[in-house]
Protein backbone atom coordinates (compact mmCIF):
# COMPACT_ATOMS: atom_id res chain seq x y z
CA UNK A 1 0.00 0.00 0.00
CA UNK A 2 2.64 2.39 1.14
CA UNK A 3 4.79 1.22 -1.72
CA UNK A 4 2.09 2.13 -4.22
CA UNK A 5 1.80 5.54 -2.62
CA UNK A 6 5.52 6.09 -2.93
CA UNK A 7 5.47 5.06 -6.56
CA UNK A 8 2.50 7.29 -7.29
CA UNK A 9 4.03 10.31 -5.67
CA UNK A 10 7.26 9.71 -7.53
CA UNK A 11 5.32 9.43 -10.75
CA UNK A 12 3.59 12.68 -9.98
CA UNK A 13 6.91 14.41 -9.42
CA UNK A 14 8.02 13.11 -12.74
CA UNK A 15 5.66 15.35 -14.66
CA UNK A 16 6.92 18.78 -13.56
CA UNK A 17 10.48 17.53 -13.81
CA UNK A 18 9.91 16.36 -17.35
CA UNK A 19 8.17 19.55 -18.37
CA UNK A 20 10.97 21.57 -16.86
CA UNK A 21 13.47 19.45 -18.66
CA UNK A 22 11.70 19.94 -21.96
CA UNK A 23 11.55 23.69 -21.50
CA UNK A 24 15.21 23.95 -20.53
CA UNK A 25 16.42 21.75 -23.31
CA UNK A 26 14.15 23.43 -25.81
CA UNK A 27 15.55 26.82 -25.04
CA UNK A 28 19.06 25.53 -25.10
CA UNK A 29 18.50 23.97 -28.47
CA UNK A 30 16.97 27.10 -29.92
CA UNK A 31 19.64 29.63 -29.17
CA UNK A 32 21.13 28.42 -32.40
CA UNK A 33 22.95 30.69 -34.75
CA UNK A 34 22.10 28.36 -37.62
CA UNK A 35 19.00 28.46 -39.71
CA UNK A 36 17.21 25.11 -39.62
CA UNK A 37 15.10 26.04 -42.62
CA UNK A 38 18.20 26.47 -44.72
CA UNK A 39 19.55 23.13 -43.63
CA UNK A 40 16.29 21.39 -44.41
CA UNK A 41 16.08 23.07 -47.77
CA UNK A 42 19.42 21.62 -48.69
CA UNK A 43 22.72 22.90 -50.02
CA UNK A 44 21.44 24.35 -53.24
CA UNK A 45 18.17 25.90 -52.18
CA UNK A 46 17.38 29.42 -53.25
CA UNK A 47 16.62 32.15 -50.78
CA UNK A 48 12.94 32.11 -51.69
CA UNK A 49 12.73 28.38 -51.10
CA UNK A 50 14.28 28.83 -47.69
CA UNK A 51 11.89 31.64 -46.82
CA UNK A 52 8.91 29.57 -47.86
CA UNK A 53 10.10 26.61 -45.88
CA UNK A 54 10.73 28.78 -42.85
CA UNK A 55 7.16 29.99 -42.81
CA UNK A 56 5.88 26.52 -43.55
CA UNK A 57 7.74 25.03 -40.60
CA UNK A 58 6.75 27.82 -38.25
CA UNK A 59 10.27 29.09 -37.58
CA UNK A 60 8.94 32.62 -37.92
CA UNK A 61 6.86 32.24 -34.77
CA UNK A 62 8.16 33.55 -31.47
CA UNK A 63 10.05 31.04 -29.34
CA UNK A 64 7.31 30.48 -26.79
CA UNK A 65 4.76 29.66 -29.49
CA UNK A 66 7.17 27.15 -30.93
CA UNK A 67 7.71 25.70 -27.48
CA UNK A 68 3.94 25.34 -27.11
CA UNK A 69 3.73 23.61 -30.44
CA UNK A 70 6.64 21.40 -29.54
CA UNK A 71 5.17 20.34 -26.23
CA UNK A 72 1.78 19.73 -27.85
CA UNK A 73 3.38 17.56 -30.50
CA UNK A 74 5.48 15.80 -27.93
CA UNK A 75 2.38 14.82 -26.02
CA UNK A 76 1.32 12.85 -29.08
CA UNK A 77 4.74 11.29 -29.39
CA UNK A 78 5.76 13.58 -32.21
CA UNK A 79 9.22 15.05 -31.84
CA UNK A 80 9.35 16.50 -35.28
CA UNK A 81 11.52 15.42 -38.14
CA UNK A 82 15.22 15.07 -38.09
CA UNK A 83 16.90 17.59 -40.33
CA UNK A 84 19.42 15.07 -41.36
CA UNK A 85 17.63 11.76 -41.61
CA UNK A 86 14.35 13.38 -42.66
CA UNK A 87 12.58 10.79 -40.53
CA UNK A 88 10.39 11.37 -37.52
CA UNK A 89 12.81 11.76 -34.65
CA UNK A 90 10.61 9.65 -32.42
CA UNK A 91 10.94 6.77 -34.88
CA UNK A 92 14.68 7.23 -35.13
CA UNK A 93 15.06 7.21 -31.38
CA UNK A 94 12.71 4.28 -30.85
CA UNK A 95 14.60 2.35 -33.46
CA UNK A 96 17.94 2.96 -31.83
CA UNK A 97 16.88 2.68 -28.24
CA UNK A 98 17.11 -1.13 -28.02
CA UNK A 99 20.70 -1.05 -29.24
CA UNK A 100 21.73 1.39 -26.57
CA UNK A 101 19.69 -0.31 -23.89
CA UNK A 102 21.22 -3.65 -24.78
CA UNK A 103 24.67 -2.17 -24.51
CA UNK A 104 23.88 -0.33 -21.31
CA UNK A 105 22.27 -3.34 -19.70
CA UNK A 106 25.19 -5.53 -20.61
CA UNK A 107 27.56 -2.94 -19.21
CA UNK A 108 25.48 -2.57 -16.06
CA UNK A 109 25.49 -6.32 -15.56
CA UNK A 110 29.24 -6.48 -16.02
CA UNK A 111 29.70 -3.52 -13.71
CA UNK A 112 27.53 -5.04 -11.01
CA UNK A 113 28.99 -8.49 -11.49
CA UNK A 114 32.50 -7.11 -11.09
CA UNK A 115 31.90 -4.23 -8.74
CA UNK A 116 29.88 -5.79 -5.96
CA UNK A 117 31.91 -8.94 -5.28
CA UNK A 118 35.20 -7.13 -5.65
CA UNK A 119 33.92 -4.34 -3.42
CA UNK A 120 33.03 -6.84 -0.72
CA UNK A 121 36.36 -8.62 -1.04
CA UNK A 122 38.20 -5.32 -0.91
CA UNK A 123 36.35 -4.35 2.24
CA UNK A 124 36.79 -7.57 4.15
CA UNK A 125 40.43 -7.75 3.12
CA UNK A 126 40.88 -4.15 4.13
CA UNK A 127 44.43 -2.85 3.92
CA UNK A 128 45.78 -6.10 2.52
CA UNK A 129 47.55 -6.39 -0.81
CA UNK A 130 44.29 -7.42 -2.49
CA UNK A 131 42.59 -4.32 -1.19
CA UNK A 132 45.41 -2.06 -2.32
CA UNK A 133 45.42 -3.51 -5.82
CA UNK A 134 41.65 -3.26 -6.12
CA UNK A 135 41.68 0.31 -4.90
CA UNK A 136 44.33 1.32 -7.39
CA UNK A 137 42.35 -0.39 -10.13
CA UNK A 138 39.15 1.31 -9.15
CA UNK A 139 40.71 4.74 -9.01
CA UNK A 140 42.25 4.08 -12.41
CA UNK A 141 38.95 2.88 -13.78
CA UNK A 142 37.44 6.20 -12.91
CA UNK A 143 40.28 8.20 -14.37
CA UNK A 144 40.33 6.72 -17.85
CA UNK A 145 38.57 8.63 -20.58
CA UNK A 146 36.15 6.07 -21.93
CA UNK A 147 36.53 7.09 -25.54
CA UNK A 148 40.25 6.68 -25.26
CA UNK A 149 39.94 3.31 -23.60
CA UNK A 150 37.51 2.29 -26.32
CA UNK A 151 39.97 3.31 -29.00
CA UNK A 152 42.88 1.56 -27.37
CA UNK A 153 40.93 -1.64 -26.73
CA UNK A 154 39.64 -1.61 -30.27
CA UNK A 155 43.13 -1.06 -31.57
CA UNK A 156 44.56 -3.93 -29.56
CA UNK A 157 41.81 -6.53 -29.57
CA UNK A 158 40.29 -5.91 -32.97
CA UNK A 159 42.97 -4.41 -35.15
CA UNK A 160 46.17 -5.89 -33.78
CA UNK A 161 45.02 -9.26 -32.55
CA UNK A 162 41.82 -9.72 -34.50
CA UNK A 163 40.10 -11.30 -31.50
CA UNK A 164 36.95 -9.24 -31.54
CA UNK A 165 34.89 -7.58 -34.23
CA UNK A 166 35.75 -4.01 -35.06
CA UNK A 167 32.38 -2.37 -34.88
CA UNK A 168 28.64 -2.69 -34.95
CA UNK A 169 26.20 -4.88 -33.07
CA UNK A 170 26.49 -7.89 -35.31
CA UNK A 171 28.03 -8.81 -38.65
CA UNK A 172 25.63 -7.23 -41.07
CA UNK A 173 22.00 -7.36 -40.16
CA UNK A 174 20.66 -8.80 -36.94
CA UNK A 175 18.40 -11.75 -36.32
CA UNK A 176 14.70 -11.41 -37.01
CA UNK A 177 13.50 -8.53 -34.99
CA UNK A 178 11.13 -9.24 -32.12
CA UNK A 179 12.28 -7.08 -29.28
CA UNK A 180 15.13 -5.26 -30.97
CA UNK A 181 17.54 -6.72 -28.43
CA UNK A 182 19.76 -8.94 -30.50
CA UNK A 183 20.76 -11.19 -27.65
CA UNK A 184 17.14 -11.74 -26.71
CA UNK A 185 15.94 -12.06 -30.27
CA UNK A 186 18.54 -14.63 -31.18
CA UNK A 187 17.58 -16.60 -28.10
CA UNK A 188 13.90 -16.37 -28.95
CA UNK A 189 14.50 -17.54 -32.50
CA UNK A 190 17.13 -19.98 -31.26
CA UNK A 191 19.66 -18.52 -33.64
CA UNK A 192 22.86 -19.58 -31.94
CA UNK A 193 25.11 -18.17 -34.61
CA UNK A 194 23.64 -14.72 -34.22
CA UNK A 195 23.76 -15.05 -30.46
CA UNK A 196 27.46 -15.79 -30.43
CA UNK A 197 28.12 -13.07 -32.95
CA UNK A 198 26.03 -10.54 -31.05
CA UNK A 199 27.72 -11.38 -27.78
CA UNK A 200 31.15 -11.09 -29.34
CA UNK A 201 30.23 -7.68 -30.74
CA UNK A 202 28.89 -6.66 -27.37
CA UNK A 203 32.04 -7.62 -25.52
CA UNK A 204 34.41 -4.70 -26.09
CA UNK A 205 31.90 -1.83 -25.99
CA UNK A 206 30.21 -3.25 -22.92
CA UNK A 207 33.47 -3.78 -21.10
CA UNK A 208 34.70 -0.31 -22.00
CA UNK A 209 31.51 1.19 -20.77
CA UNK A 210 31.39 -1.00 -17.69
CA UNK A 211 34.85 -0.31 -16.31
CA UNK A 212 34.28 3.11 -14.78
CA UNK A 213 30.87 1.98 -13.57
CA UNK A 214 32.36 -1.13 -12.02
CA UNK A 215 34.92 1.07 -10.31
CA UNK A 216 32.18 3.25 -8.90
CA UNK A 217 30.18 0.29 -7.67
CA UNK A 218 33.28 -1.24 -6.19
CA UNK A 219 34.03 1.91 -4.27
CA UNK A 220 30.51 2.29 -3.00
CA UNK A 221 30.19 -1.34 -2.07
CA UNK A 222 33.50 -1.23 -0.29
CA UNK A 223 32.56 1.89 1.63
CA UNK A 224 29.12 0.46 2.35
CA UNK A 225 30.49 -2.84 3.61
CA UNK A 226 33.12 -1.11 5.70
CA UNK A 227 30.48 1.04 7.28
CA UNK A 228 28.04 -1.78 7.86
CA UNK A 229 30.70 -4.09 9.17
CA UNK A 230 31.26 -1.81 12.15
CA UNK A 231 27.57 -1.66 12.96
CA UNK A 232 26.09 -3.10 16.09
CA UNK A 233 24.09 -5.79 14.38
CA UNK A 234 27.19 -7.25 12.77
CA UNK A 235 28.85 -7.26 16.15
CA UNK A 236 25.80 -9.00 17.53
CA UNK A 237 25.68 -11.55 14.75
CA UNK A 238 29.38 -12.23 15.18
CA UNK A 239 29.09 -12.51 18.92
CA UNK A 240 26.29 -14.99 18.45
CA UNK A 241 28.70 -17.09 16.45
CA UNK A 242 26.98 -17.00 13.07
CA UNK A 243 29.28 -18.08 10.23
CA UNK A 244 31.34 -15.30 8.74
CA UNK A 245 30.23 -16.06 5.19
CA UNK A 246 26.59 -15.80 6.14
CA UNK A 247 27.15 -12.52 7.91
CA UNK A 248 29.10 -10.97 5.07
CA UNK A 249 27.27 -12.19 1.99
CA UNK A 250 23.80 -12.08 3.41
CA UNK A 251 23.47 -9.67 6.26
CA UNK A 252 26.18 -7.16 5.51
CA UNK A 253 25.84 -7.15 1.76
CA UNK A 254 22.11 -6.47 1.79
CA UNK A 255 22.65 -3.44 4.00
CA UNK A 256 25.63 -2.23 2.03
CA UNK A 257 23.63 -2.53 -1.17
CA UNK A 258 21.13 0.04 -0.01
CA UNK A 259 23.45 2.85 -0.93
CA UNK A 260 24.90 0.95 -3.86
CA UNK A 261 21.46 0.49 -5.40
CA UNK A 262 20.94 4.24 -5.38
CA UNK A 263 24.27 4.49 -7.13
CA UNK A 264 23.19 2.06 -9.79
CA UNK A 265 20.49 4.50 -10.82
CA UNK A 266 23.11 7.20 -11.25
CA UNK A 267 25.48 4.77 -12.87
CA UNK A 268 22.88 3.95 -15.43
CA UNK A 269 22.95 7.60 -16.33
CA UNK A 270 26.73 7.56 -16.48
CA UNK A 271 26.58 4.55 -18.75
CA UNK A 272 23.95 6.11 -20.92
CA UNK A 273 26.04 9.19 -21.38
CA UNK A 274 29.19 7.14 -21.72
CA UNK A 275 27.42 5.37 -24.54
CA UNK A 276 27.53 8.57 -26.57
CA UNK A 277 31.26 8.39 -27.02
CA UNK A 278 31.74 4.65 -26.76
CA UNK A 279 29.09 4.00 -29.38
CA UNK A 280 30.73 6.54 -31.61
CA UNK A 281 34.00 4.66 -31.38
CA UNK A 282 32.48 1.24 -31.99
CA UNK A 283 29.95 2.41 -34.57
CA UNK A 284 27.27 0.93 -32.37
CA UNK A 285 24.03 1.79 -34.12
CA UNK A 286 22.38 3.21 -31.04
CA UNK A 287 21.34 6.51 -29.57
CA UNK A 288 24.90 7.62 -28.94
CA UNK A 289 25.92 7.29 -32.54
CA UNK A 290 22.71 9.01 -33.50
CA UNK A 291 23.44 11.83 -31.11
CA UNK A 292 26.97 12.28 -32.41
CA UNK A 293 25.70 12.27 -35.96
CA UNK A 294 23.08 14.82 -35.03
CA UNK A 295 25.77 16.95 -33.46
CA UNK A 296 27.87 16.79 -36.58
CA UNK A 297 24.83 17.72 -38.61
CA UNK A 298 23.75 20.41 -36.19
CA UNK A 299 20.43 18.66 -35.99
CA UNK A 300 19.05 20.48 -32.99
CA UNK A 301 15.66 18.88 -32.91
CA UNK A 302 17.20 15.46 -32.93
CA UNK A 303 19.54 16.41 -30.11
CA UNK A 304 16.57 17.83 -28.28
CA UNK A 305 14.67 14.59 -28.73
CA UNK A 306 17.68 12.56 -27.70
CA UNK A 307 18.20 14.65 -24.60
CA UNK A 308 14.57 14.32 -23.58
CA UNK A 309 14.59 10.59 -24.20
CA UNK A 310 17.71 10.18 -22.10
CA UNK A 311 16.03 12.26 -19.42
CA UNK A 312 12.97 10.04 -19.51
CA UNK A 313 15.01 6.85 -19.37
CA UNK A 314 17.07 8.27 -16.57
CA UNK A 315 14.02 9.30 -14.59
CA UNK A 316 12.36 5.95 -15.15
CA UNK A 317 15.46 4.09 -14.07
CA UNK A 318 15.62 6.16 -10.93
CA UNK A 319 11.98 5.44 -10.31
CA UNK A 320 12.72 1.74 -10.61
CA UNK A 321 15.64 2.17 -8.26
CA UNK A 322 13.35 3.86 -5.76
CA UNK A 323 10.91 1.01 -5.99
CA UNK A 324 13.72 -1.49 -5.63
CA UNK A 325 14.82 0.44 -2.64
CA UNK A 326 11.53 -0.17 -0.89
CA UNK A 327 12.17 -3.89 -1.28
CA UNK A 328 15.75 -3.84 -0.13
CA UNK A 329 15.23 -1.42 2.70
CA UNK A 330 11.89 -1.97 4.42
CA UNK A 331 12.46 1.13 6.51
CA UNK A 332 11.59 3.33 3.53
CA UNK A 333 8.03 2.11 3.80
CA UNK A 334 7.75 3.47 7.28
Amino acid sequence: MRRIEIILSRLLWLIPTLIGLIVVVFFIANVVPTDPARIIAGENATTEQVEALRTELGFDEPLYVRLGIYVRDLATGNMGRSLYTQRPIADDLAHRLPATLELTFAATLIAIGLGIPLGVVSAIRRNTMTDQVLRVLSVSGLAIASFWLAMELQMLFSTRWGLTPLNGRISGFGPDEITGFFVLDSLLTWDMESLGDALLHLLLPAVTLALPAAATILRFTRAGVLEVITSNFVLYETAMGLPRGLIIWKYVLRNALISTVTQIGLIFGVLFSGAVVVEAVFDWPGLGTYAVQSILQSDNKAILGFTILVGVVFIVVNLIVDILHTFIDPRTLK
Partner: protein, 280 residues
Protein backbone atom coordinates in the same frame (compact mmCIF):
# COMPACT_ATOMS: atom_id res chain seq x y z
CA UNK B 1 50.11 22.78 8.62
CA UNK B 2 49.24 19.58 10.33
CA UNK B 3 46.69 19.14 7.58
CA UNK B 4 49.41 19.25 4.97
CA UNK B 5 51.50 16.79 6.93
CA UNK B 6 48.58 14.45 7.23
CA UNK B 7 47.94 14.83 3.56
CA UNK B 8 51.47 13.88 2.71
CA UNK B 9 51.46 10.94 5.07
CA UNK B 10 48.59 9.41 3.11
CA UNK B 11 50.32 7.75 0.21
CA UNK B 12 47.43 8.03 -2.24
CA UNK B 13 46.77 11.64 -1.40
CA UNK B 14 50.45 12.46 -1.65
CA UNK B 15 50.67 10.89 -5.10
CA UNK B 16 47.52 12.76 -6.09
CA UNK B 17 48.85 16.05 -4.83
CA UNK B 18 52.12 15.35 -6.59
CA UNK B 19 50.41 14.73 -9.89
CA UNK B 20 48.38 17.89 -9.62
CA UNK B 21 51.39 19.92 -8.59
CA UNK B 22 53.19 18.52 -11.61
CA UNK B 23 50.26 19.49 -13.80
CA UNK B 24 50.29 23.03 -12.49
CA UNK B 25 54.03 23.32 -12.89
CA UNK B 26 53.84 21.94 -16.39
CA UNK B 27 51.12 24.39 -17.26
CA UNK B 28 53.07 27.35 -15.92
CA UNK B 29 56.42 26.27 -17.26
CA UNK B 30 55.19 24.87 -20.56
CA UNK B 31 57.21 27.40 -22.60
CA UNK B 32 60.35 26.52 -20.65
CA UNK B 33 59.89 22.78 -20.42
CA UNK B 34 58.83 22.07 -23.95
CA UNK B 35 61.65 21.42 -26.39
CA UNK B 36 59.73 23.05 -29.24
CA UNK B 37 57.45 25.67 -27.71
CA UNK B 38 56.66 27.02 -31.15
CA UNK B 39 55.05 23.77 -32.17
CA UNK B 40 51.76 24.82 -30.70
CA UNK B 41 51.24 26.69 -33.93
CA UNK B 42 54.24 25.69 -36.00
CA UNK B 43 54.30 22.83 -38.50
CA UNK B 44 57.05 20.75 -40.00
CA UNK B 45 55.27 19.01 -42.79
CA UNK B 46 58.21 16.83 -43.60
CA UNK B 47 58.28 15.40 -40.09
CA UNK B 48 54.73 14.15 -39.85
CA UNK B 49 53.84 11.18 -37.66
CA UNK B 50 57.30 10.33 -36.43
CA UNK B 51 57.41 7.76 -33.65
CA UNK B 52 58.81 8.71 -30.24
CA UNK B 53 62.54 9.35 -30.29
CA UNK B 54 65.14 11.37 -28.48
CA UNK B 55 64.15 14.51 -30.37
CA UNK B 56 60.47 13.93 -30.01
CA UNK B 57 59.74 12.22 -26.73
CA UNK B 58 56.15 11.50 -27.66
CA UNK B 59 56.60 11.55 -31.43
CA UNK B 60 55.03 14.03 -33.82
CA UNK B 61 51.50 14.65 -35.01
CA UNK B 62 49.79 14.96 -38.35
CA UNK B 63 51.31 18.38 -38.95
CA UNK B 64 54.77 17.34 -37.87
CA UNK B 65 54.56 19.21 -34.57
CA UNK B 66 56.24 17.85 -31.47
CA UNK B 67 53.56 16.03 -29.46
CA UNK B 68 55.41 16.39 -26.18
CA UNK B 69 55.39 20.14 -26.50
CA UNK B 70 51.77 20.17 -27.46
CA UNK B 71 50.77 17.97 -24.54
CA UNK B 72 52.58 20.34 -22.20
CA UNK B 73 50.70 23.30 -23.58
CA UNK B 74 47.49 21.29 -23.50
CA UNK B 75 47.83 21.16 -19.73
CA UNK B 76 47.09 24.89 -19.66
CA UNK B 77 43.81 24.45 -21.43
CA UNK B 78 42.90 21.53 -19.24
CA UNK B 79 43.58 23.49 -16.09
CA UNK B 80 41.74 26.52 -17.38
CA UNK B 81 38.67 24.50 -18.27
CA UNK B 82 38.59 22.54 -15.03
CA UNK B 83 39.29 25.46 -12.74
CA UNK B 84 36.92 27.92 -14.35
CA UNK B 85 34.08 25.45 -14.92
CA UNK B 86 34.27 23.99 -11.45
CA UNK B 87 34.83 27.42 -9.95
CA UNK B 88 31.75 28.85 -11.60
CA UNK B 89 29.69 25.80 -10.65
CA UNK B 90 30.79 26.10 -7.06
CA UNK B 91 30.11 29.81 -7.06
CA UNK B 92 26.58 29.23 -8.31
CA UNK B 93 25.75 25.96 -6.64
CA UNK B 94 27.05 26.51 -3.14
CA UNK B 95 25.03 29.64 -2.29
CA UNK B 96 21.92 28.17 -3.88
CA UNK B 97 22.29 24.92 -2.00
CA UNK B 98 23.10 26.70 1.23
CA UNK B 99 20.14 29.03 1.08
CA UNK B 100 17.73 26.38 -0.16
CA UNK B 101 18.92 23.94 2.46
CA UNK B 102 18.84 26.46 5.26
CA UNK B 103 15.44 27.93 4.64
CA UNK B 104 13.96 24.80 3.15
CA UNK B 105 10.27 25.06 2.56
CA UNK B 106 8.72 26.35 -0.57
CA UNK B 107 11.54 28.34 -2.16
CA UNK B 108 14.06 25.71 -1.21
CA UNK B 109 11.91 23.09 -2.82
CA UNK B 110 11.68 25.16 -5.96
CA UNK B 111 15.42 25.62 -6.19
CA UNK B 112 15.90 21.94 -5.73
CA UNK B 113 13.32 21.10 -8.38
CA UNK B 114 15.22 23.37 -10.72
CA UNK B 115 18.41 21.46 -10.07
CA UNK B 116 16.46 18.22 -10.42
CA UNK B 117 15.69 19.20 -13.95
CA UNK B 118 19.33 19.58 -14.74
CA UNK B 119 20.16 16.38 -12.97
CA UNK B 120 17.48 14.48 -14.88
CA UNK B 121 19.89 14.23 -17.76
CA UNK B 122 23.46 13.03 -17.47
CA UNK B 123 25.71 16.03 -17.42
CA UNK B 124 27.60 15.21 -20.55
CA UNK B 125 24.40 14.99 -22.58
CA UNK B 126 23.28 18.46 -21.55
CA UNK B 127 26.78 19.77 -22.01
CA UNK B 128 26.78 18.34 -25.50
CA UNK B 129 23.48 20.00 -26.27
CA UNK B 130 24.72 23.35 -25.06
CA UNK B 131 28.20 23.17 -26.54
CA UNK B 132 26.79 22.08 -29.86
CA UNK B 133 24.32 24.94 -29.88
CA UNK B 134 26.89 27.55 -29.01
CA UNK B 135 29.52 26.26 -31.37
CA UNK B 136 32.89 24.76 -30.66
CA UNK B 137 35.29 26.81 -28.59
CA UNK B 138 36.99 26.54 -25.24
CA UNK B 139 34.80 29.30 -23.81
CA UNK B 140 31.68 27.46 -24.80
CA UNK B 141 32.93 24.23 -23.32
CA UNK B 142 33.47 26.05 -20.06
CA UNK B 143 30.04 27.60 -20.30
CA UNK B 144 28.39 24.29 -21.07
CA UNK B 145 30.17 22.55 -18.21
CA UNK B 146 29.38 25.29 -15.72
CA UNK B 147 25.76 25.47 -16.76
CA UNK B 148 25.33 21.77 -16.26
CA UNK B 149 27.57 21.21 -13.27
CA UNK B 150 26.25 23.68 -10.71
CA UNK B 151 23.25 21.53 -9.77
CA UNK B 152 25.63 18.90 -8.40
CA UNK B 153 26.97 21.46 -5.98
CA UNK B 154 23.58 22.79 -5.15
CA UNK B 155 22.47 19.24 -4.43
CA UNK B 156 25.48 18.38 -2.35
CA UNK B 157 25.41 21.57 -0.34
CA UNK B 158 21.66 21.33 0.06
CA UNK B 159 21.87 17.83 1.49
CA UNK B 160 24.79 18.71 3.73
CA UNK B 161 23.09 21.86 4.92
CA UNK B 162 19.91 19.99 5.73
CA UNK B 163 21.90 17.49 7.70
CA UNK B 164 23.72 20.31 9.46
CA UNK B 165 20.48 22.07 10.23
CA UNK B 166 19.43 19.09 12.26
CA UNK B 167 22.60 19.36 14.31
CA UNK B 168 22.18 20.54 17.84
CA UNK B 169 24.97 23.11 17.67
CA UNK B 170 23.21 24.90 14.85
CA UNK B 171 20.00 24.98 16.82
CA UNK B 172 22.01 26.16 19.81
CA UNK B 173 23.52 28.99 17.82
CA UNK B 174 20.09 30.04 16.62
CA UNK B 175 18.73 29.85 20.14
CA UNK B 176 21.55 32.10 21.20
CA UNK B 177 20.16 34.68 18.79
CA UNK B 178 22.71 34.36 15.99
CA UNK B 179 21.49 35.80 12.69
CA UNK B 180 20.79 33.52 9.76
CA UNK B 181 23.73 34.87 7.83
CA UNK B 182 25.99 34.27 10.80
CA UNK B 183 24.79 30.71 11.21
CA UNK B 184 25.14 29.96 7.51
CA UNK B 185 28.52 31.52 6.95
CA UNK B 186 30.26 30.91 10.26
CA UNK B 187 28.75 27.65 11.40
CA UNK B 188 27.33 25.68 8.50
CA UNK B 189 29.75 26.56 5.74
CA UNK B 190 32.94 25.65 7.61
CA UNK B 191 31.39 22.39 8.67
CA UNK B 192 30.41 21.37 5.19
CA UNK B 193 33.58 22.74 3.64
CA UNK B 194 35.33 19.41 3.76
CA UNK B 195 32.58 17.78 1.77
CA UNK B 196 32.81 20.59 -0.75
CA UNK B 197 36.57 20.39 -0.97
CA UNK B 198 36.52 16.64 -1.49
CA UNK B 199 33.91 16.94 -4.16
CA UNK B 200 35.77 19.78 -5.82
CA UNK B 201 38.81 17.62 -6.20
CA UNK B 202 36.87 14.73 -7.65
CA UNK B 203 34.74 17.16 -9.65
CA UNK B 204 37.85 18.56 -11.31
CA UNK B 205 38.67 15.09 -12.54
CA UNK B 206 35.16 14.52 -13.79
CA UNK B 207 35.17 17.88 -15.53
CA UNK B 208 38.42 17.15 -17.26
CA UNK B 209 37.00 13.89 -18.54
CA UNK B 210 33.83 15.54 -19.77
CA UNK B 211 35.74 18.36 -21.41
CA UNK B 212 37.97 15.84 -23.13
CA UNK B 213 34.93 13.96 -24.36
CA UNK B 214 33.51 17.17 -25.79
CA UNK B 215 36.84 17.82 -27.44
CA UNK B 216 36.82 14.32 -28.80
CA UNK B 217 33.38 14.87 -30.28
CA UNK B 218 34.62 17.99 -32.01
CA UNK B 219 32.75 20.33 -29.70
CA UNK B 220 35.82 21.71 -28.00
CA UNK B 221 38.63 23.95 -29.03
CA UNK B 222 39.25 24.53 -32.73
CA UNK B 223 42.53 23.51 -34.35
CA UNK B 224 45.36 23.90 -33.88
CA UNK B 225 44.67 24.13 -30.14
CA UNK B 226 46.61 21.39 -28.41
CA UNK B 227 43.63 20.30 -26.32
CA UNK B 228 43.99 16.68 -25.25
CA UNK B 229 40.56 15.35 -26.20
CA UNK B 230 40.82 16.90 -29.62
CA UNK B 231 44.30 15.47 -30.09
CA UNK B 232 42.93 11.99 -29.41
CA UNK B 233 40.25 12.43 -32.00
CA UNK B 234 42.84 13.69 -34.51
CA UNK B 235 44.89 10.62 -33.77
CA UNK B 236 42.13 8.19 -34.57
CA UNK B 237 42.73 8.42 -38.27
CA UNK B 238 46.28 7.28 -37.82
CA UNK B 239 45.77 4.27 -35.60
CA UNK B 240 47.08 1.70 -35.15
CA UNK B 241 50.35 2.72 -36.83
CA UNK B 242 50.76 6.04 -35.00
CA UNK B 243 49.88 4.57 -31.61
CA UNK B 244 51.80 7.25 -29.76
CA UNK B 245 49.57 9.94 -31.15
CA UNK B 246 46.58 8.82 -29.06
CA UNK B 247 48.54 7.24 -26.25
CA UNK B 248 50.25 10.43 -25.09
CA UNK B 249 47.18 12.62 -24.54
CA UNK B 250 45.23 9.63 -23.22
CA UNK B 251 47.83 9.01 -20.56
CA UNK B 252 48.02 12.68 -19.76
CA UNK B 253 44.28 12.76 -19.10
CA UNK B 254 44.52 9.57 -17.09
CA UNK B 255 47.30 10.86 -14.87
CA UNK B 256 45.69 14.19 -14.17
CA UNK B 257 42.24 12.78 -13.43
CA UNK B 258 43.87 10.10 -11.32
CA UNK B 259 45.67 12.86 -9.45
CA UNK B 260 42.47 14.67 -8.62
CA UNK B 261 40.70 11.47 -7.64
CA UNK B 262 43.50 10.31 -5.39
CA UNK B 263 43.69 13.72 -3.79
CA UNK B 264 39.93 13.72 -3.31
CA UNK B 265 40.03 10.30 -1.69
CA UNK B 266 42.86 11.32 0.55
CA UNK B 267 41.13 14.56 1.52
CA UNK B 268 38.01 12.61 2.32
CA UNK B 269 39.93 10.48 4.78
CA UNK B 270 41.64 13.47 6.30
CA UNK B 271 38.77 15.90 6.43
CA UNK B 272 35.93 13.58 7.32
CA UNK B 273 35.21 14.49 10.92
CA UNK B 274 33.71 11.08 11.52
CA UNK B 275 36.99 9.44 10.80
CA UNK B 276 38.96 12.04 12.67
CA UNK B 277 36.86 11.69 15.74
CA UNK B 278 37.14 7.93 15.47
CA UNK B 279 40.87 8.13 15.99
CA UNK B 280 40.54 9.87 19.28
Amino acid sequence: MTGLKRLLSDRAAAIGAGLILALILVAILAPVLSPYPGDVAEFHLTERLLPPSAEHLFGTDRMGSDLFSRILFGARITIAIAVIAVGVSVAIGVPIGLIAGYYGGWSGGLLMRASDIFLAVPQIVLAIAIAQTLGPSVENVILALSATYWPFWARLVYAETRAMKGQVFIEAAQALGASDARVMVLHILPNIASAIIVRTSIGMGATILTAAALGFLGLGAPPPTPEWGRTISEAREFLPEAWWYAAAPGFAIFLVVMGFNLLGDGLRDILDPKIRRGTR
